[in-house]
């Protein structure tokens, strides 16, 4: 019920709607809750609505942090604030 998934906007449509691509499956969703979405953006989709945009730079930072994790010495400060 809480689960929502990141999907890429592939087409903007009338009435604040958009077509998104969910792993190859195309689905029409509503953009009524978000602002300034353009084709190519990733949005988090839940019960047919985009809840928010996904920030690719922040995603890349988080992944980089994971990758470094295994090699860390104790005490290195990588805490995200």
């Amino acid at each position: 019920m809480c689960l929502a998934i990141p999907a890429q906007v592939v087409e903007l449509r009338d009435n604040d709607n958009a077509l998104v691509d969910l792993a190859g499956v195309k689905k029409e969703i509503s953009l009524a809750l978000v602002e300034g979405v353009v084709v190519g953006d990733y949005v988090i989709v839940h019960v047919g609505y985009a809840l928010n945009k996904l920030d690719p730079e922040e995603a890349a930072k988080t992944l980089k942090l994971f990758a470094e994790m295994g090699e860390l010495a104790p005490g290195d400060d990588l805490t995200i604030h």
């Binding site: 019920m1 809480c2 689960l3 929502a4 009524a32 988090i44 988080t62 860390l72 104790p74 604030h81």
Partner: protein
């Protein structure tokens, strides 16, 4: 899939597990509550608990919207369908929630109720538009993620001048549930569980931002780390919590910065504030009546309020005697502590609400965890 698979990488998970092991102090125990059903699901499905050192324990919280929906509310929805003859629409997860008289919405449908599963609140509005001779009621449940879509549906119905659409509003608020775990009087009845910190909800936080949790960090001295739903997100959040505890800090940190900031989605918040207001009291399943913990429709939109349109008194109904959902939702007991877990109560035939959705603690443990205990 992009932004999913890379957050599930097994090798990276091992690295993170190692980092947690290194940082966790072997001389103490850590108890963290994952508030959200989505996290419960991820932890069970990917076996995150198995990767954690024995002194780091995860406790399931009350953040599954289906699990906290009280019987009395489902009864109201059933009565709308069976007695008032409305077309009742709701999200799929609600259909199997056990209600009074051994009924559920699914069973009421078999008895002739016009009950439909919708994917989105917008589908319910469309159904009302297409069937002007039928009263269509949307049974709206869930936390801050499903509330804005309900607000949009009500505003749409108002703009279209629909006379046959209304909403049975059962939307609840996350921060209230967290407070109740920390301070409700039932803590005396159930006993209490030592909590060292919370994993904050993912998608709820995309809407409300991280700011509402600052209160918990300050007032209760509990660290909160908001985390995404993928297993690596959850593990990183655990690591951040361990670190806060070790350093004696109680702050709000955000692991899910790719989708959450401090302020949240202001457009969605404005829509919710326009359509809904606080309810003084609302009953939660397993958590009793919590003050200012839910929303109702503002009088300006009263014609779309099913509780005003139909004679629907609310009657509280006690859970099945054997069901331990109340204690499980508070993190005091585990699913396997319930006498009827996995025997009388199964996902196919749930007795309590925690067994209904795959995000409920009992269902998650039944599906992914139960064989480990016997092996």
């Amino acid at each position: 899939m992009k932004y999913i698979d890379e957050f599930r990488d097994g090798e990276v998970a091992k690295g993170l597990a190692e980092a947690i092991r290194r940082e966790a102090n072997p001389a103490r125990n850590y108890h963290f509550m994952e508030f959200c059903g989505g996290h419960t699901h991820a932890i069970s499905r990917y076996g995150v608990s198995d990767l954690l050192p024995a002194n780091v324990k995860m406790i399931h919280g009350p953040g599954c919207p289906v699990c906290v929906l009280p019987i009395g509310r489902v009864d109201q929805a059933i009565r709308l369908a069976l007695e008032q003859g409305v077309t009742l629409c709701t999200y799929g997860d609600c259909l199997r929630v056990p209600a009074s008289d051994s009924l559920s919405l699914l069973k009421a449908k078999a008895r002739g109720g016009d009950i439909r599963m919708v994917y989105s609140s917008a589908d319910a509005v469309t159904l009302a538009q297409k069937n002007p001779d039928k009263q269509v009621v949307f049974f709206a449940i869930g936390f801050e993620t499903t509330t804005p879509p309900t607000a949009v549906a009500i505003k749409q119905a108002a703009a279209l001048g629909l006379k046959n659409f209304s909403v049975l509003c059962c939307h609840v608020l996350t921060p209230s549930a967290i407070s109740s775990i920390l301070e409700s009087p039932e803590v005396r009845q159930w006993g209490t569980v030592p909590l060292d910190g919370f994993i904050g909800p993912a998608h709820v936080s995309t809407i409300i931002g991280s700011r509402p949790y600052e209160f918990f960090a300050e007032e209760y001295r509990k660290p909160v780390v908001i985390a995404g739903f993928e297993p690596l997100d959850v593990m990183q959040a655990i690591r951040m919590l361990v670190r806060q505890v070790n350093e004696g800090r109680a702050e709000v940190e955000n692991e899910f910065s790719r989708a959450v900031d401090r302020d949240g989605n202001l457009k969605a918040q404005a829509l919710v504030a326009e359509v809904f207001e606080m309810r003084k009291n609302f009953e939660w399943r397993g958590l009793n009546i919590l003050p200012y913990s839910a929303l109702r429709i503002r009088s300006q939109f009263a014609e779309f309020d099913a509780e005003k349109r139909f004679p629907l008194g609310y009657k509280s109904v006690a859970d099945h005697k054997a069901c331990e959902c109340g204690a499980i939702l508070r993190g005091v007991k585990r699913p396997q502590d319930c006498k009827i877990f996995g025997t009388v109560c199964t996902p196919e035939n749930p007795v309590g609400s925690c067994m209904v959705s795959s995000e409920g603690a009992c269902a998650a443990h039944y599906t992914y965890g139960r064989y480990k205990d016997v092996a």
